[in-house]
Symmetry: C2
Subunit: 266 residues, 2 copies
């Protein structure tokens, strides 16, 4: 920065992004002071930068003057491949699965050490689940998570298991050795299963969405009440959908290769 910056070496861009980073699921609505405190910025600086974000509509203000994430940022975020490609392709398949089963359906990708939920369909008849679009849940205790983890590169699996494995219920597989065995079984079967490992009373199955080269980038799964045990019967349908999604994803990737840049407006 310039001037009497208290903390040298922090760029304007980084401070601006820190303001956006002050928002999270528990804090989707912040006053200027809260935002400044959470971003670690002096009030006057936060005020100036927030003004610029507001002008671009990355932030909005409600009647009380509190800041919220703005429409333009939401719109821009929709351009991320995870939404514009993956979600777009997967949604019709997920609706088919929903109509056939009436159970919760999740689509997740791996991001760092988390399963990131990209889409979720659920009706009134399905079990209420804690997931939510944009939610991050652990790889070792969810169906979609285990499907992502079991088919990841061995080095990643090892790295994941080295870390502490939080326990959510008494059924969570929180011991390294048991998790390795569970992942090996998942690889053999070709699909992941969970039983009350994240939430008591819920059971799930999931399959990876294959990728042409290497580890899967996404996974697809059902969650239901644990007393309904026919979930494994839905695995073939799940696998067919996953393969359909993979095929469509590769097609659109090929589309892109020859032209490299097709830019109608320039």
């Amino acid at each position: 920065m310039a001037g009497n910056s208290s903390e040298s070496g922090r760029t304007v861009a980084a401070r601006t992004l820190a303001l956006l980073g002050a928002f999270d699921v528990a804090h989707p609505r912040l006053s200027l002071s809260e935002m400044a405190r959470r971003a670690g910025l002096p009030l006057a600086t936060a005020h100036r930068l927030a003004g610029e974000l507001e002008a671009w509509r990355a932030l909005d203000r409600d009647e009380q003057g509190c800041y919220r994430i703005g429409l333009r940022l939401w719109e821009t975020g929709l351009l991320a491949p995870v939404s514009s490609s993956l979600r777009e392709v997967a949604l019709p398949f997920m609706q088919d699965l929903y109509e056939a089963s009436r159970e919760n359906i999740h689509l997740a990708v791996r991001d760092g050490f988390d399963a990131l939920y990209v889409e979720k369909l659920s009706g009134h008849s399905s079990v209420p689940v804690i997931s939510r679009i944009g939610a991050r849940l652990p790889l070792h205790a969810t169906g979609v998570g285990k499907a992502l983890l079991a088919f990841a590169e061995p080095a990643f699996i090892r790295a994941y298991c080295e870390r502490p494995l939080p326990r959510y219920t008494r059924y969570t597989i929180a011991e390294r050795g048991r998790l390795y065995r569970e992942l090996a079984r998942t690889q053999e079967r070709g699909h992941a299963e969970t039983n009350e490992e994240m939430t008591l009373g819920s059971t799930s199955v999931a399959v990876p969405i294959p990728h042409t080269s290497g580890a899967p980038t996404a996974s697809l799964g059902f969650v239901a009440h644990s007393h309904r045990s026919e979930l494994t019967g839905l695995v073939p349908a799940l696998r067919a959908a996953a393969e359909g999604i993979a095929r469509r994803l590769n097609e659109s990737a090929d589309d892109r290769a020859p032209g490299l840049v097709h830019d109608p407006s320039v």
Copy 2:
């Protein structure tokens, strides 16, 4: 800025946001040079700022080095009220409507002079439509758009009609006087209808989602093939859903009022 800035008066924050603004639906994937050109920035500047955006994961790079919107920006965008409140509340109602009708269902809000599509459900049996989550379509030629326009403040209606009204098909109501009459009829009926006004072969009905005070903030509508004329029969279901959504939205707004800031993590 500092230094030998060619264009004075443009702040770093504004340039950073201009880089994000270089992306749109037709350009979700940009090389550094394209991004710089579209943002109106010198290459070296764009390179530096893009590096900061990438570090925060507001941008990602693919195998070829091209930039795309990053996961973190997508995640942050989900915190916008339009997604975290409106969409979350409306989705179960929309699924009910879909199961009962098997038609396309749209949820839109007004943003400036556009209808902004917030959510869309459609099955394989429904007509393919041009809408897409995040799409912007005109207020005078779509069902959800007319529902938003007809129940807006009179001053806004006048301002909208002053502007040129683009024509999309020979059925588009592109004349000011006819549009006024159509909006009056929409107000009396309490719901909007369109007939091939945006797309030949498609018809739609829509209702506003009432707001405690003043103009509706959102609207909900069906789109179907125009030869299926029973769409008006679905209006009561649509209206019931809109009222349900409005009630749930007001409840959650009330939750917020007493505590003003309920912040479990601080």
